[in-house]
Symmetry: none
Subunit: 402 residues, 2 copies
């Protein structure tokens, strides 16, 4: 339960909320005295929203903490990532669009190279490229054992995802990666007796899988890590009374959205206008729309300052498509910062824009950018509070206490 005090306050208002997340939105100036990516971008539409709305900046997880995308999105969705950990195996599966249901057990897998004695000589199997790992994974897909179903999917290069589905499974299992070469992968062992049978099943599957890999020159073995099951997050419907839709291109974000009970919408295309026209298409069917823009983050990770500016501008240009729908609340923010200068995620507070006709006090900030947000009327606050703010500005909450 994200906020125990919220469900009793929910009313039957039919207002609509859009949460537009530009991944890694926050940035840094390349040089002292310079502007950030968002400050550099020409964003007349967002600036108008800033003028009529209210700004602030969010702390994604905790001050000074650089978040991964999974925890950062959990926070935006109202699930404290310091409390609700999504296991690595589940995140890995989510990242390739594979759902891990209640009772399923997921793990991250790495191909490795084994010598004749079965000892590891390369923990990443020479980092084999996708072209080589895809056909090997096809072989692995054929490996099945009684009583359970095992699904494998490529993540990237030597990394893949394994999900075991069946009755009575338990994820209390130890990693099989010894972290060093010269020894064999460990057997799967339970950390709790309740997972003994699941360990046996995984060991059986590993044994069968090894047989089909025996003639592979480099990827003739693999290790398993981060065994985990469905984190059992309460759904958006239960938590907030919202029928929620996810409009995202990348599997990882679709996966995390599915874990909180959003419907993941299928659509063609990958540009902001493709996403916004999808919102339009399903507008009457949902109350809440999570729209995810990935390329602000990818360009930031690439150190491509101008590219990130361009992505922000392309979102701004398409924004009238969203505004025409007349949402009751529109929030534009990021899940974390990805300054092109750092070529990585960072801990910096994230620009936050809340627009809601008639229910905000405009704060005299008339441009969307880091330093306007620092002075915004919402102040500096935990990203975790995004959902309560969205619900209240959409008039969806009754009074607490008399």
């Amino acid at each position: 339960m994200p906020f125990e005090y919220l469900p009793p306050l929910l009313n039957s208002e039919k207002s609509k909320i859009v949460l537009l997340v530009m991944d890694g939105l926050g940035g840094l100036p390349l040089d002292p005295g310079g502007l950030t990516e968002l400050e550099t971008a020409q964003t007349p539409n967002m600036d108008n929203l800033a003028k009529d709305g209210i700004l602030g900046q969010t702390i994604p997880i905790a001050p000074g903490i650089t978040p991964g995308s999974g925890p950062a999105h959990l926070a935006l969705f109202g699930y404290d990532p310091l409390v609700h950990a999504i296991g690595r195996g589940v995140l890995s599966a989510a990242g390739v669009g594979v759902h891990v249901g209640s009772g399923d057990v997921a793990a991250r897998a790495n191909f490795c190279t084994l010598d004749k004695e079965g000892n590891i000589t390369d923990r990443r199997a020479g980092r084999i490229p996708n072209e080589l790992s895809i056909p090997i994974l096809e072989k692995l897909k054929s490996v099945q054992i009684p009583d359970v179903n095992v699904e494998v999917n490529l993540v990237k290069e030597y990394r893949f995802s394994v999900v075991m589905r069946g009755e009575g499974l338990n994820a209390a299992l130890k990693d099989t990666d010894p972290q060093v070469t010269g020894v064999p992968p460990y057997k799967v062992e339970p950390t709790d007796p309740v997972a003994k049978r699941t360990a046996d099943l995984f060991n059986k599957w590993v044994e069968e899988a090894r047989k089909v890999l025996i003639n592979e020159p480099t990827a003739n073995g693999f290790t398993l890590r981060g065994f985990a099951t469905d984190p059992g997050l309460q759904s958006y419907k239960e938590s907030y009374g919202l029928n929620a839709a996810c409009i995202a291109v990348y599997p990882m974000y679709r996966g995390v959205s599915r874990l909180v009970g959003m419907d993941v919408i299928e659509f063609d295309g990958e540009y902001p206008e493709d996403e916004f026209s999808t919102v339009k298409r399903i507008w009457n069917d949902y109350d809440f729309f999570f729209v995810h823009i990935k390329k602000t983050d990818s360009t930031g990770e690439d150190g491509n300052f101008d590219g990130k500016v361009h992505v922000i501008e392309s979102v701004d240009k398409a924004l009238p498509m969203l505004l025409e729908l007349a949402p009751d609340v529109l929030i534009i923010t990021g899940d974390h910062s990805t300054p092109a200068k750092m070529k990585s995620h960072s801990w910096h507070p994230v620009p936050f824009l809340l627009w809601a006709p008639n229910t905000v006090i405009p704060d005299h900030q008339n441009k969307f950018g880091e330093r306007f947000c620092q002075r915004g009327g919402l102040g500096t606050f935990a990203a975790l509070n995004t959902m309560p703010l969205a619900l209240s500005h959409a008039n969806r909450l009754n009074k607490y206490g008399a």
Copy 2:
């Protein structure tokens, strides 16, 4: 205990603190581009205090949460309302100035109409007006049973408060309101065996009470809800070392103040100058003065923007009476927002002014208003922190740790 780390830090300073609460102070502009009630009001005295003091804005309960007056005042007093819930029965009694002591059990009661079979035909007894319910309550006051004392008081129209006092009582009791018509009120039943005797006592009293109501045309029955006892809040004296006085017109606020151990001061009149002259009268007898102005909230609830502006101005006009007393710390704030535009309480952050000669850093904001407070030097903070800020600026706290 509101703040476990505070009591060991309290020193013997004799400074004086005034907490002036304008109920529902925060507002909204009526139209885009307009001003809020507080921004509209001519408040030269508060503006002077803003200039010499420091501003901020408070979150009453949690971001996005619209508070009732009870929880909102608890927060201002330093008791987290998400932890310390005051039961509805106790709040209802407090609302009519009736104290619920340790071991007493209070409930909210509604008159209802019963048919010959004892089934409810109207859950609110036709919403009978005060003129009719007052004499009926007089009859109920005469109904007493052995071992306990039962106090009844009119709240409004068909609503009244019931408090049972005696030894060994327990409030673990179910509501008797079936929430529908066509069935009789439930018997009082315990939710915990420890409350069995209390349930029996209430049922006995209800039985006797029904006899005196038997010939009433509409209010011939009643239901009981929200059984609760004294929440056992630690007193201001224990928590903060303060001899505290409450100067408030409305019973509800007097009641909540009494629950935290304030002395509730009797006085004539209902205007700000009546309250401020009361503060003057008792100035030498107390360290802390909670002064409550109700009409900012009532005018807000009525949607009377100009009326709320006028109330704020009347407080400002009388303010020199308080300033002449030379308090060491003067805080002017609200318990929550009540924008006239919304005609209701709201979740918006609340303007906060802290004036303390020589112990604040003035923040270059020279007017008291929402948008000045958004940019204030205290930032955006939980209302729960009001008391520690008051104590520190009054030099009443020693250093924490060496």
